[in-house]
Symmetry: C2
Amino acid sequence: MTQINAEEIKRISDKNMDLFYDYLRLESVSAQGRQINQTAKAVQALIENIGGESEVLELKGAHPVVYGFFEAGQAGDSDKTLLFYDHYDVQPEDPLDEWNTEPFEPTIKDGILYARGVSDNKANFMARINAIEAYKNTEEGLPVNVKFFVEGEEEIGSPHVNDYLKAYSNLFAADVCIWESGSKDSKERLGISAGIKGIAYYEARVTSADIDMHSSLAAIADNSAWRLVQALASMRNAKNEITVDGFYDMMTAPTELEKNVLAEMPFDPNASKQTYGLKHPLITDQLPYSPEEALVFYPTLTISGLLSGYTGPGAKTILPRQAMAKIDVRLVPGYEPDKVTELLRQHLDKHGFEDVELNLITSVMPFRTNLEDPFVKTVIDSAKQVYGEDKVVLEPNSAGTGPMYGFGKYLNVPILGSGTEWEKSGAHAPNENIRLADFYQGVEHMVVLLDSYKHS
Amino acid sequence: MTQINAEEIKRISDKNMDLFYDYLRLESVSAQGRQINQTAKAVQALIENIGGESEVLELKGAHPVVYGFFEAGQAGDSDKTLLFYDHYDVQPEDPLDEWNTEPFEPTIKDGILYARGVSDNKANFMARINAIEAYKNTEEGLPVNVKFFVEGEEEIGSPHVNDYLKAYSNLFAADVCIWESGSKDSKERLGISAGIKGIAYYEARVTSADIDMHSSLAAIADNSAWRLVQALASMRNAKNEITVDGFYDMMTAPTELEKNVLAEMPFDPNASKQTYGLKHPLITDQLPYSPEEALVFYPTLTISGLLSGYTGPGAKTILPRQAMAKIDVRLVPGYEPDKVTELLRQHLDKHGFEDVELNLITSVMPFRTNLEDPFVKTVIDSAKQVYGEDKVVLEPNSAGTGPMYGFGKYLNVPILGSGTEWEKSGAHAPNENIRLADFYQGVEHMVVLLDSYKHS
């Protein structure tokens, strides 16, 4: 057990608050390319400021990745290296008029710190910096080697993470990895994810004519909107099962351990219904698996957008020349975007929809840590020490997507998340925030985890 | 046979060209309420200018309708009254940058007169005025009584035509009616329609949540876009048959005469394919009736618009809270909009789509003149005199829609169209035009028709 107590953690965190505020003030909006290089240098300075080595790495056409390194202390275990994944970029701050404070002027009200990017993901990076600094004042020093991979394109889909990992696999070599985030639910339980779903996102398009026609011609001319609607409808049945041949065959069956972990995940279907005001029953009411299984183990096929013809008020009597759909497919282990594309294309062709163009816009591979890996227990046990025995929930993977795959492929590390968010953090939304108490606790978890990992 | 020759028709038409130009200069865009009252007064003046009686009628909340009356001459048949239907309103002129001339400054180039509204429908009104004036200089005078119904809301769906007809059914009482338009096809044949299709235009909407959600929740939450797509797809099969129970049962079976008339309608499927650049085979290739039958005798069910979720460039991973479709149903005799609404609603409910809202936005009843009516032969024969024996094509009704129904209901008249348009007139489009030669011929047809009607 580490000798660093909660008082010391608060002291260091408070001492570094000015540095944290300066970091939050940087408008590192990756989608708009704002203050990107400046923020990468600020990350480097935060690392070097507490005695770390750091380098700003650059690949052509990509935002920089910041490398950081801290060597284990005299009494530490220098054979073990833990890698932190974070990102210094943030979402755009709009809509501005829905903010109660200035997005890039960190403001504390009633124990809550508001700022764009504070929950996603600047506070987590800062918590890790604070935890490392806490060890500097101890006799033993840092328990294990620590590296950082801090990217600047997470909010735009991490298009170059794998390029960086491939180019710098030796530099980032590590044994285990702690991911950017982790959030407390409505019952104050910290969720720890051991993976993510992948994604294959498509634009589907049908063109039926060179120009929009008068709709009286619908008596004889085919209609792009009808073609697209019929093609889409052929891919999912009324019970919400995906009807693309071979689609479910790609699933890697969950292990017994994964099933057991899932069985212990708390799930309240009413929470989503209330939060989002759902008007329909959950689709899993008609599916042969539970909502928890759906969120963790099953792929999805979602229409994220539809556009064709006239969409304004009132009536316009046209036969639209073109129709478009955005299709979001979430992938679980066993799925590869290219294979999904192939199956969707085969399905469309087989059902007579050769005229439906299908273009893969973006894709991310799924990733799930082997839950047998001892690091899983290390992370969970250390979290329970900090948050409480019944206040930590492991999930085999989250329902969302992130760039984990390359870390597994190029660094071969188990990956688990831990973070300082809560259910009302509002990542990507106005009034993004964290609770200060969660921040201190997040620092503490990192302190305990580094020590636990040394002794594991 | 009238004694008015082509030379006299040209002389009068040319004499009135300044008046015609002034009429074309009026920016009577009904959708924008521009110069509406001013144009109604101009119509009244054009009628009074050649000795007609006229009145500008007004109903609350409606654009005015201009009434006109010319009494049969001494040698005329004062027991017969022919009503002309025209409209003085025009479509908006945008996109302005696609015009080669000023839309409201009539311009002649190479025998073609360009102006917004010239083909739809100001030239036809002017041709009728010129034809009446031509009779003023004859000994016999006007062959029959002539009335005008000139409305100002045709381009916004004629929402008050039936109100005016109901309120002024005595004033507009007539025996026969000539409709606003008629166009020459690519082989210089004038099309004469004896009816129109009706329309029932809907907005369908599904709401699945109060807010857009992250698409990772698609694992458990239903999706408005999927619901709408599945509901729409249930209404039409892969062969493009409408699968709504009872939908085709409403059709009034075409008479033998209607079938015979249809059999003589020339139809070139390649013309539409080329004009619009169709990418698919005609849908009638898979239907048990011909393209001509589809255009004239069959109803349609068209998706005119689709909107849901994210429709911009690239990817946005959302689960859309709402999805909307515009649905355009064209009606043939036997169909009533309210009955169509009832069948569509029943269909949705029966297939489990109670969650799909369906709102009727606008509707027009179908109308088809009884082809046995002797006026049909009068109009066709008089047209053949002017255009040539093999240059006139009768169609039982057009594939498009117009406000004929009220004229049939309140005035009980047979209705046929004749006009001065050609295949490149571009009604509603930039560079709207007519050929001057067609205009003189249109005047001539009206001259011959009035005389033929007297003697019929």
